[in-house]
C-alpha cells in the first residue's frame, strides 16, 4: 500500500536547499517594474490625474491612469465559470478605477526601468478627488442614506439569502421555552503567506503570458482575458511554486493589471511585486461577519426554534462575495439540526478592503459564532457541554437535502472521545470549578464541521494526464495546484497506488501552465484529495487497462489475466512477472509495426461531495490583572477520512491550528474611523503568532473512510483552523465566567470585559 504511508514530500529536497524556484526567482532581472498609485481616500471620484512630473523622472517608461484603463469590467473570484449568466461572478472592477471605493484603491500605475524610479514616479503623481462620504461598518452601510458604493446595489446589499424551515413564529409560542439571544462579532484578518503576491507578464507570439503566484491558474487566465477583453486562448498563465496562498491567491489579484501593463509598453516584460504593506492593504482579507443568534430551547436544552442573522462585511468589491457568508449560514441547521429555523445572510459592500477567500471560507467565523452560542446555551441551562453536543449535533445517518452529503459514521463521538482523553477533560473540568484569585485555568471544546469541495453550488471537475516514459515511469499532470500543503506528494501516491507502480516512478509536473496542464480549477475548498483524487483514479484505471491491452501484443496473455504490480506486468493466475513496465514502454515506443506513445487523459466530473468533521479542545490560564491568556494545551481531532500521507496531514493540521490561535487571540486588522486607512498593515503591528505564542500542537485523527471518495478522503486543508478560536473562547469562559463574543480575545478586549464583569473593583 502506498496510500497511508508518510512518504517524504516530493519537493522537500529542493526546498531544503533553497533552489526551488518561486515566481521572483524565475523573472528575468531586467524586467520592467510596475508600481501602483493607491488612493489615500476611502471613497471618491477621481477628477483628474496629473502625471506630468512623474513622466519626467529618469527611468520611467510609462505612466497610466484610470482614464487610460480599458472599460471592461471583470470578476476576480477563484470560482469555476458558469455558463448560466445568473451564476457568474460579479464583474465590478476595472484594472484601474475612476471610482475609489476603499482607502488604497488602484487609480494609476507606473512602469519603469527600476524600482526606485517607479516609486519616485508614484509619489510624483497628483490625483484630484471629489471626496465622498464613506462607511466602514456593515450594518451602517445597510441603512438608508448610507454612501452608495456600487450603483446597482440598493443599501449596498450585494446579496441576501434566506433559509426557512418549519415555522419559527409558531414554534416559539410553546410554553416554557427559554430564549437565548446573543450577538457574535468576528474581525478582519489577513492570510499572511510569507511570499507576497507577485506576477510578471509579457507578450510573445501574439499572446499575453502571465507568470503568477496563484492557486488558480486556469481561472486566472479567464479573469485576465475578461479584464482585457481578449479571447481566453490569447492568455497563458503559468503557476510556479508558491510561498503560501491560504485563499488570498484564490483570486485574480494584480494579474489583470500586470497583463494590461505589458500591452501598454509594447509587450515588454513587466513585473508587479506587492510589498508586504500592499499584501496587507490591497490584497484580500477574511470577511468580518457579525451574527445574531436567537435560540428557543427547552429546559433540557432541546432546540425548538432558532433564528440567525449574518452580516458579512464585503468591503469594496464583490470578489468571492456572498459565497462565504452563505457557506456559514448553511452550516448552522446542518451542524445542529433544528425543525424550525429562520436564517438570513446579508453580504454588504463597505468602503473597506475586499473580503475574499481565506482558509475556512466563512467557517472560522461561523464556527466561532455557533460554538460560542452552543456553549452559552449550556452555561445558561447548566448543561454539560460535551453531553449537550453529543445529544444535539448532526446525528449519524443525517443527509443534507441540498448537497446529499451524509454523516456515515459516529464520527463526532469518536473525535470527542479522543480529544477528551488526550486533554484529560473531565478531571480538569472538575478541578477548575469554583476558582477564585487572579490566575485561573479553564478548558473548552468546539466541534467542527466542514463541507469539502463546491458541488452542487458550482461545477466540480478535475482532469488528469499521464504520460509514460521509456523506463516505465510516468509524468503526472493535474490542474490542482501545490501551494505548500503537500498536494503533489498526495497526488503522486494516488497515481502510484492505482497504476501499480512504485512511488518513485511517478514524476509529478508540479507547476501548472495553462498551455499544457489539463483543466482543473485549482487549490481551494479543501478539494485537492477529493476532486483531484477522482481525476487521478479515473485516469490511472483507464491507463492501466490500456497498458494491459497493449501488453497483450507482447505477452499473448488476455488483458484480464494480467495486472500491474510494483511496476511489473504480472500474470494474475500464477503471479509470474511477464515483463516490466519499462520493457513494455520501451518496446512499444520503438516498435516498427505498432509504435505508440503511452498516454492517458481523463476528466472526472464530481456530482458528490463530502462532509469533514472534528473537534478542538483548548486549555488556558488567564491572568486576570494582566488581561492575558496563556494557551496551555490544545488538540485538534479530525475525521478527514483515509489519510493519504499521515505526516503531511498532521503538518496541515498544525498550520490550521496556528492560524486559529492567531484568529482567537491576537490577529486583527485595525481601520482608522476618520479615514478608513488600515493602521497595522505590516508584520510588526499585525500580531501574527510566533513560535513563542504556541504550546505543543497536538493533531490526532479518526479515520472513517468517505464512501463517495476515490481514496476515502474528505477535506483537511481548511478544517483545522475552524474550531480553534471557539474552543479557546469556551476555555476562557470556563476559567473566568466571562463570555467573549468578539474576536480576537487580546488584552484590550479582556480589560474591557473584565472591567464590566467587576473584576477590577477595589
Amino acid at each position: 500500500m502506498i496510500i497511508g504511508k508518510s512518504y517524504t514530500r516530493v519537493d522537500a529536497y529542493d526546498k531544503a536547499t533553497g533552489r526551488t524556484k518561486y515566481t521572483e526567482d524565475l523573472c528575468d532581472k531586467h524586467a520592467l517594474v510596475a508600481k501602483i498609485k493607491h488612493s489615500n481616500v476611502a471613497h471618491a471620484i477621481v477628477k483628474s490625474v496629473d502625471i506630468s512630473e512623474a513622466e519626467k523622472i529618469p527611468g520611467v517608461v510609462k505612466v497610466l491612469t484610470c482614464f487610460d484603463a480599458p472599460e471592461y469590467l471583470f470578476p476576480t473570484a477563484g470560482h469555476p465559470w458558469s455558463t448560466e449568466e445568473s451564476h457568474q461572478d460579479i464583474c465590478d472592477r476595472n484594472v484601474l478605477t475612476k471610482h475609489v471605493r476603499y482607502y488604497g484603491d488602484d487609480v494609476a500605475a507606473v512602469v519603469a526601468e527600476d524600482e526606485v524610479a517607479a516609486k519616485r514616479a508614484i509619489e510624483a503623481i497628483k490625483v484630484e478627488y471629489e471626496v465622498l462620504p464613506f462607511v466602514l461598518d456593515v450594518q451602517e452601510a445597510m441603512k438608508d442614506g448610507a454612501p452608495q458604493i456600487h450603483e446597482k446595489y440598493k443599501n449596498n446589499v450585494l446579496a441576501h439569502t434566506q433559509i426557512h424551515k418549519g415555522n419559527y413564529e409558531e414554534a416559539i409560542k410553546e410554553p416554557g421555552l427559554i430564549k437565548i439571544d446573543k450577538w457574535y462579532n468576528t474581525q478582519t484578518v489577513q492570510h499572511c503567506h510569507i511570499e507576497n503576491f507577485i506576477c510578471y507578464a509579457w507578450e510573445e507570439g501574439g499572446r499575453i503570458h502571465v507568470t503568477s503566484s496563484t492557486q488558480i491558474p486556469h481561472v486566472t487566465r479567464r479573469c485576465v482575458a475578461q479584464a482585457l477583453g481578449v479571447d481566453w486562448g490569447r492568455v497563458r498563465v503559468v503557476k510556479p511554486y508558491i510561498g503560501g496562498g491560504f485563499g488570498n491567491k484564490q483570486d485574480a489579484l494584480y494579474e489583470p493589471l500586470c497583463a494590461w501593463l505589458t500591452t501598454q509598453v509594447g509587450g515588454r516584460l513587466v513585473k508587479l511585486d506587492c510589498q508586504r504593506e500592499e499584501t496587507f492593504a490591497n490584497n484580500r482579507v477574511r470577511h468580518a461577519i457579525r451574527y445574531h443568534f436567537i435560540s428557543w430551547v427547552k429546559p433540557d436544552g432541546t432546540l425548538v426554534a432558532r433564528k440567525v442573522e449574518c452580516f458579512s462585511n464585503q468591503g469594496a468589491y464583490a470578489s468571492h462575495g456572498h459565497a462565504i457568508c452563505a457557506k456559514g449560514l448553511g452550516s448552522f441547521p446542518q451542524l445542529y439540526p433544528c425543525e424550525n429555523f429562520e436564517g438570513d445572510g446579508w453580504t454588504v459592500f463597505t468602503n473597506r478592503q475586499v473580503g475574499g477567500a481565506m482558509r475556512g471560507y466563512g467557517m472560522p467565523q461561523a464556527t466561532f459564532a455557533i460554538e460560542a452560542h452552543t456553549e452559552d446555551i449550556c452555561t445558561e441551562l447548566g448543561l454539560d457541554p460535551i453531553a449537550y453536543r453529543r445529544k444535539t449535533v448532526m446525528p449519524v445517518g443525517y443527509v443534507d437535502a441540498f448537497s446529499k452529503n451524509e454523516l456515515y459514521s459516529d464520527t463526532f463521538n469518536q473525535c470527542l472521545d479522543a480529544g477528551m482523553k488526550y486533554i484529560d477533560f473531565e478531571r480538569k473540568r472538575e478541578a477548575y470549578k469554583n476558582q477564585t484569585g487572579d490566575i485561573r485555568r479553564g478548558i473548552g471544546v468546539s466541534l467542527l464541521w466542514y463541507n469539502t469541495a463546491v458541488w452542487p453550488i458550482a461545477l466540480e471537475t478535475s482532469s488528469c494526464r499521464m504520460v509514460m516514459n521509456q523506463d516505465g515511469s510516468i509524468q503526472l499532470q493535474v490542474g490542482e495546484t501545490e501551494i505548500g500543503q503537500g498536494a503533489d506528494t498526495a497526488f503522486s501516491q494516488m497515481a502510484a497506488e492505482t497504476l501499480g507502480i512504485p512511488f518513485e516512478k511517478v514524476h509529478i509536473v508540479s507547476c501548472q501552465d495553462t498551455d499544457v496542464t489539463p483543466f482543473g480549477t485549482g487549490a481551494y475548498a479543501s478539494r485537492q484529495t477529493y476532486a483531484a483524487g477522482m481525476g487521478i483514479r479515473g485516469c490511472a484505471e483507464a491507463f492501466k487497462a490500456h497498458i494491459l491491452d497493449v501488453a497483450y501484443r507482447y505477452t499473448r496473455m488476455q488483458s484480464y489475466l494480467m495486472d500491474i504490480v510494483d511496476g511489473n506486468i504480472i500474470r494474475k493466475t500464477d503471479g509470474r512477472v511477464l515483463m516490466t513496465l519499462g520493457e513494455l514502454a520501451l518496446t512499444v515506443l520503438y516498435d516498427r509495426e505498432h509504435n505508440e506513445h503511452l498516454t492517458m487523459e481523463k476528466t472526472a466530473q464530481l456530482k458528490t461531495n463530502a462532509y469533514s468533521f472534528g473537534c478542538c479542545f483548548a486549555e488556558v490560564e488567564v491572568d486576570i490583572p494582566m488581561c492575558q491568556v496563556k494557551l496551555l494545551n490544545i488538540i485538534n481531532v479530525h475525521d478527514a477520512g483515509t489519510l493519504i500521507n499521515p505526516a503531511l496531514a498532521e503538518a496541515q493540521v498544525h498550520g490550521g491550528m496556528s492560524m486559529g490561535i492567531g484568529y482567537g487571540l491576537s490577529e486583527k486588522m485595525l481601520y482608522d474611523a476618520k479615514t478608513g486607512k488600515l493602521l497595522n498593515g505590516n508584520l510588526l503591528d499585525y500580531k501574527l503568532s510566533t513560535m513563542m505564542d504556541h504550546p505543543h500542537l497536538e493533531a490526532q485523527f479518526v479515520e472513517n473512510p468517505e464512501p463517495t471518495s476515490a481514496y476515502g478522503t474528505k477535506g483537511l486543508g481548511e478544517p483545522p483552523v475552524n474550531p480553534v478560536a471557539s474552543a479557546i473562547r469556551n476555555a476562557i469562559l470556563n476559567a473566568t465566567g466571562v463570555a467573549f463574543d468578539e474576536l480576537p480575545m487580546r488584552p484590550h478586549l479582556l480589560y474591557e470585559k473584565f472591567s464590566q464583569a467587576g473584576f477590577f473593583q477595589d
Binding site: T8, R9, K15, C192, N196, G243
Partner: protein
C-alpha cells in the same frame, strides 16, 4: 552616479567573491541578484519576517535590513552553503525534510540558517529557549510544530556526537 556603486568583496559560502553593488542595495538584493542565491527570500524587506536570514561572521542577520556595502570583508553563509558539494543535505536540512517541517518552503531557509547559527554553539537549550531563539521567523504553514521538532532533533544528535 559614480558614487552610487562600490566594489564589495566578501566571502560567500566559503568563496571570496566581488561585485560592484549599488550603495542603496540590501544584502538580500546582492545575494539574490548578483549571486543567484535564491534561498535568501523576500517576505517583508523590513526585518519582520526572517525569511532573508543569513549568517554574517557567525551571527544571524536579516539581510534585508543589512546594506550590501556593509558586507565588505565579511564572511557570509546562506542556506546554499550548508548543502554539501555533492548535493547531500546538512543535518539541519535533512531534519527539516524528515520531520515534515517544510511546507510551502518560503520561510524554511531562514529557520534553517537561524538554527544552524545557534546550534553551532553546541549548547542544549530548553524548549522555551528554542522558541525564543526562533521567534524572529514567521511561518503561516507549519504552526512551527515540526520546525521545533527538527531543530531539537539536530541539537540532541549533535550533542550526542560531540560526547
Amino acid at each position: 552616479m559614480s558614487n552610487q556603486y562600490k566594489l564589495v568583496t566578501c566571502t560567500i559560502n566559503g568563496k571570496e567573491r566581488s561585485a560592484m553593488v549599488d550603495v542603496r542595495a540590501s544584502l538580500t538584493d546582492m545575494l539574490r541578484n548578483d549571486y543567484g542565491l535564491t534561498s535568501v527570500k523576500k517576505g517583508c524587506e523590513v526585518g519582520e519576517c526572517g525569511a532573508c536570514a543569513v549568517i554574517i561572521d557567525g551571527e544571524c542577520f536579516n539581510s534585508c535590513i543589512y546594506l550590501a556595502i556593509w558586507a565588505d570583508g565579511k564572511n557570509i553563509t546562506t542556506l546554499e552553503g550548508l548543502t554539501h558539494p555533492d548535493g547531500t543535505l546538512s543535518d539541519i536540512q535533512q531534519a527539516f525534510v524528515d520531520e515534515s517541517a517544510i511546507q510551502c518552503g518560503f520561510c524554511s531557509p531562514g529557520f534553517m540558517i537561524e538554527a544552524e547559527s545557534f546550534l553551532q554553539k553546541g549548547k542544549i537549550y530548553t524548549d522555551d529557549e528554542l522558541r525564543k531563539l526562533l521567534s524572529g521567523h514567521l511561518c503561516r504553514c507549519t504552526g512551527y510544530e515540526n520546525i521545533l521538532r527538527a531543530v531539537k532533533k539536530v541539537m540532541h544528535k549533535r550533542a550526542a556526537e560531540s560526547v
